[in-house]
């Protein structure tokens, strides 16, 4: 005669293994289910990204050659290379980097230092977070209204730098702030106990500690800026002009060709620029942005290895 022992009887009999076995089975089932779910979704996302990349590489790779990368367009842009666009994009990035990094870090430091105590700073934080989510076209129009027209800088490299700087600032400010917040307070205590002032502790201890995180933020936000056409659309861009080929002080006041704008225009005016050139430029831009992101990761791992 077999009677199912009740739960209480089993507990009293000390059948711990048998009790555990049931839970183990349930746990295994749940693990399998969540692995499948997350694994599936993850794999799908990765697949999608790879598909996108694969198409661009497939279409763009045949065009890539030293000549394509180093020569200006020829024959009314229907042939030749895209060097002026690459150079323009690099110029835009360089100036933006030099302007946005110090200003953004300074802003992040202010928010991290005074953010919690003052209401104005909390408001600033909220505003910066909102700006980080503002669509790039808004920056483009702002740059047009203020830098191009009001300050009479014209459609120029300079206006592009200023607009892109505004565009990348919010992300730099926010990453600087959050990187500074990860600094252990034991380190700050250590600095203050040595007699360092608040600012010395910040510059000598907190900022170096947070620097890898800050630089990651800087590069990621520049990468984003590099790929956006709309902030530079009305402020800095020109499709192509032969004046592009010399560099000098006057370049600052002249518009520059750049990759995103070239792509947008080239696509908008069908028949002028042949498809294979567009795909090649597309691949070049993606590689540029990926290289920047790779640099960010490299900086972070190197810094971590150095400190730990």
């Amino acid at each position: 005669m077999e009677v199912q022992a009740t739960y209480l009887e089993r507990v009293r009999a000390g059948e711990w293994e048998a009790l555990a076995a049931r839970r183990d089975k349930a746990r295994l089932r749940k693990n399998a289910l969540s692995s499948a779910l997350f694994g599936g979704v993850g794999a799908f996302t990765i697949l999608l990204v790879f598909l996108l990349l694969a198409v661009i590489v497939y279409k763009g790779a045949p065009t890539i050659s030293w000549e394509f990368l180093s020569q200006p367009p020829k024959e009314g842009m229907s042939a030749g290379g895209i060097w002026p666009m690459i150079r323009g994009s690099l110029l835009l990035m360089l100036g933006t980097f030099l302007l946005a990094t110090p200003i953004g870090i300074f802003g992040g430091v202010c928010l991290a230092e005074y953010g919690e105590r003052s209401r104005i700073m909390r408001l600033m934080h909220a505003s910066v977070a909102a700006l980080a989510g503002t669509p790039p076209i808004v920056y483009g129009l702002f740059g047009l209204a203020i830098f191009v027209l009001k300050f009479k800088l014209g459609v120029s490299l300079l206006s592009g730098w200023l607009t892109l700087t505004l565009f990348s600032l919010p992300v730099i400010v926010l990453t600087t702030e959050s990187a500074l917040k990860t600094v252990p307070s034991a380190l700050i205590d250590g600095g203050l106990a040595l007699g360092l002032s608040r600012w010395q502790t910040l510059w000598r201890i907190a900022l170096p500690y947070a620097m890898p995180g800050i630089m990651t933020g800087v590069i990621l936000s520049l990468g984003r800026a590099a790929g956006e056409a709309t902030p530079v659309l009305f402020t800095a861009s020109i499709y192509y002009s032969t004046a592009q080929l010399t560099l000098g002080w006057e370049t600052l006041r002249q518009p520059v060709a750049n990759l995103p704008y070239y792509l947008a225009e080239g696509y908008r005016q069908p028949g002028v620029v042949p498809d294979h050139l567009i795909w090649g430029a597309c691949l070049t831009l993606i590689v540029l942005v990926l290289l920047m992101n790779a640099a960010a990761i490299l900086i972070r791992t190197c810094a971590r290895r150095r400190y730990l």
């Binding site: 380190l187 106990a193 040595l194 007699g195 360092l196 000598r204 201890i205 500690y209 400190y307 730990l308």
Partner: protein, 261 residues
């Protein structure tokens, strides 16, 4: 209530007068009067939460860091009340160094960890700086272990015990005369603990050393003077040997007997 020391053996380096600290209005330290002597190790003992760290942090005004903390009373360092208006915190902390319970080396090389203080405070560079760093590392009994990769290795790559000695060296390099240590061994293994204990005894010959410890045997081993705190009150203080062998107060006796079993 207070056990006056027998003949004062040395000059007083720090003296507190009615020192009270409260957090959010809750008293953590109640009107403490104690003296710490030059070239002497004083241990602070007592059950956890009795206010040992609070007392220590009041001596170099690290409690200023805690917005909820309110300090009353006086602390005299070199005859100056450090809670007076206009006291220069940098100068105070140059004079009164501190080591924490958990080693907290900065994320930089061993050399930079020690060099930071003297470089910023005294503008030292080059050979002078290197000599000061070496001297501090020797005093902290760490020099022989790190001299070969001083400028290559991060302070964080050291073992826990070495990290704590690095923090001691970092403090010494600023040339303080009073050293505060808050349970400096509680995060360390027995061998590292023994090294730090030996180091504290050695430092006690040249500095005013104040060590918080929850380990009574340790207090007995390393200190000449001991203060016993309970519920934020300084129950008694005096020569270590006397406090352990002939405590004046019942609470002290109970605590010591309870701990020694």
């Amino acid at each position: 209530m207070m056990t006056a020391a027998v003949a004062t053996p040395a000059k007083t380096a720090i003296r507190t007068e009615g020192l009270s600290v409260s957090y959010n209005g809750k008293p953590a330290l109640k009107s403490v009067n104690i003296e710490f002597y030059e070239n002497t190790v004083t241990a602070l003992i007592g059950p956890s939460g009795c206010g040992k760290s609070t007392l220590l942090r009041a001596l170099n005004r690290m409690n200023d860091r805690i917005p909820d903390a309110v300090t009353q009373g006086k602390v005299f360092v070199n005859g100056i009340n450090i809670y007076d208006r206009g006291v220069n915190l940098t100068r105070l902390r140059r004079e009164v160094g501190m080591v924490f319970q958990k080693p907290n080396p900065f994320p930089m090389t061993i050399f930079e960890n020690v060099a930071l203080g003297p470089r910023l405070h005294y503008g030292l560079r080059g050979r002078a700086l290197e000599e000061v760093v070496e001297d501090a590392l020797r005093k902290a009994a760490l020099w022989d272990e790190v001299k070969d990769d001083l400028k290559k290795k991060s302070g964080l790559a050291l073992s826990g015990g070495q990290q704590q000695r690095l923090c001691i060296a970092r403090m010494l390099a600023v040339q303080p005369r009073i050293l505060l240590m808050d349970e400096p061994c509680s995060a360390l293994d027995p061998i590292s603990t023994q090294k730090i204990e030996e180091l504290i005894v050695e430092l006690g010959k040249q500095y005013t050393v104040i060590v918080v410890t929850h380990n009574l045997q340790q207090a007995a081993r390393i200190s000449q003077y001991t203060g016993f705190l309970m519920y934020g009150e300084l129950i008694e203080w005096g020569e270590t040997r006397q406090l352990f062998e002939r405590p004046q107060r019942q609470e002290t006796e109970d605590y010591i007997r309870g701990r020694f079993g």
